[in-house]
Amino acid sequence: MIDIKNLNIVFNEGSFHEKQALKNINLHIEDGDFITLIGSNGAGKSTLLNAISGHTYINSGEIHAAGRNITCMKEYKRYKFIGRLFQDPFQGTAPSLTIIENLSLAYSRGKRLSLVPAASKSDREFYVSVLSKLNMGLEDRLDTPVKLLSGGQRQALTLIMATMLKPKLLLLDEHTAALDPKTSVHIMKLTEDIIRKDRITTIMITHNLADAMKYGNKTLVMNNGEIICTLNQEEKESMTMSDLMKLYGNIGAQISDVNILG
């Protein structure tokens, strides 16, 4: 599904603040993989997702997705087959538009934006059926402006919008981190159901190590712009929480070593 070859990203190149955000990343993702991505702040997790979605400039390397080279493809074109959720629940929806208007925008993704009325009667029924899966009562509030919804409701709506047309790839950037524990669990469960049902290839960034172990068939650990460890299904199952903490601990040691030596 995705092949990343020798990917390098350097921020502020040539200046005093130069920082190599990604160092020679090579990554192969199979169709239907559900990958959890962990690592401390500044490890390059979000930068990796930004590189795949075309949001950041790439210094060198190649990205192939769905059988073609997308290294130079414009960001908005990549979103024809990529769905993405951000940590900020307000980032994924248009606040002054109603729920149904937001949904119809997501539904016209990749289609030509024509002068057809945005939401017809039959569309309405479809949106109601989609929203009722959430069990959040949103299906009765189709004409409510999205700005009146809570963060959790907005994130659930964004999840529906991102996955409605079955994207080939789903990028989740700590999408439950800003929600309260109960809502967070609910959204995570919804996410997993959708991914399972539609077999969507997914990369999920999380700081919740329990989630990282529980979900997905692979776990990548990043540090300092490198993928330092890849755990497959068996390794994940055999690993206990304390093993993982040790792995994290090693990162900590490495960082402090570098700092002391550097």
């Binding site: 908005y76 993405r84 119809s104």
Partner: protein, 317 residues
């Protein structure tokens, strides 16, 4: 104030309502005050005026729409492709248009259309009320009704919805695979073609104009939009559009009053600027002494109270 003055003010207000409808697209939907309008108003005026001199008033209106569309696209391209700040892009296009407009007007500072055929010549002239010819105003009303209908339907199509969402949350639109650059250029182009049309009608109505008339058009249309919003609460797009038109008319009547009270024509611009300053700050300000007091909300409450005592039985909650 005489009926003729009021009718005259309403007619002028209706002409500037088209301008304000155009600016509504950039100022309210995209949240970018587009300064190109000060120039493109005169562009439309010049194109339409020159075509009238040649004897083609209708072609003049059509070409002015086109000219405004091009002017707006230039601003849009400067902003999106050349990455120039939106307001600066508008200023640059406006400045460039000064030279172009002067050329369009045949290197003369004014256009005079007395005894020339305009679109208003074709209309029945016998609709006199209190010695004022209402027929011109009715024609503009019809144009505005058509424009409101078109804009309202457009903003509910997929394309129009994408335009509104781009102003609302740009990164969300990118994530839904929409080229937001294109949306912005489209908004600038649509805005300026309406502004240009407004200028085109302005010259055919007044039959004379100088090329300095464009200065302050942005402020004028912002004033109309904000006054309109003070009258209506912002609910649906349709009501928004109506309120913009009414705002423009009310503003013009306001100005007519000020003239009657002795405002010098020269002081009109500072007066408009003051109105915009007061209207914007009143609608945003919350007096710190009493946190719950907002002039805009209180004003609306007073208006609603009046309505409810009239016994219309409308629930405004």
């Amino acid at each position: 104030m005489s009926a003729i003055t009021i009718f005259g003010a309403i007619d002028q207000g209706l002409i500037f309502a088209i301008l304000a409808l155009g600016l509504f697209i950039t100022f309210r939907i995209l949240d970018l005050p587009d300064l190109t309008v000060d120039g493109s108003f005169v562009t439309g005026l010049a194109v339409s005026g020159m075509m009238c001199l040649q004897g083609h008033p209708f072609l003049g209106l059509f070409l002015s729409l086109l000219a405004g569309f091009i002017a707006g696209s230039v601003t849009g391209l400067l902003h999106t492709k050349l990455k120039i700040n939106a307001i600066l892009s508008g200023i640059l296009t406006m400045t460039a248009l000064y030279s172009i407009n002067f050329r369009l007007m045949g290197l003369k500072p004014s256009i005079i259309l007395y005894n020339k055929t305009t679109v208003f010549t074709f209309i029945d002239k016998n609709l006199m009320v209190n010695n004022f010819n209402l027929s011109k105003g009715l024609v503009i009303c019809v144009i505005i009704i058509i424009l409101i209908f078109l804009l309202n339907s457009f903003l509910k199509t997929r394309l129009g919805l994408a335009l509104r969402a781009t102003g609302d949350n740009e990164s969300m639109m990118t994530a839904n695979s929409v080229n937001t650059d294109f949306m912005k250029i489209l908004a600038f182009a649509l805005c300026n073609s309406l502004v240009s049309l407004s200028g085109a009608i302005y010259i055919q109505y007044n039959q004379q104009s100088s090329y300095t008339v464009g200065t302050g058009m942005l402020v004028l249309s912002i004033a109309s939009i904000i006054i309109g919003e003070a009258i209506f609460s912002r609910k649906t797009i349709f009501i928004n559009l109506i309120s913009v038109v009414l705002g423009a008319v009310v503003y013009r009547i306001f100005i007519a009053f000020a003239f009657q009270l002795g405002l010098a024509a020269n002081d009109l611009k500072i007066f408009s600027a003051f109105i915009v300053i007061i209207a914007i700050s009143l609608s945003k300000m919350k007096l710190s002494v009493c946190k719950n007091f907002s002039p805009k909300v209180s004003m609306r409450k007073i208006l609603l109270l009046r309505k409810s005592t009239k016994g219309k039985g409308v629930n405004y909650d």
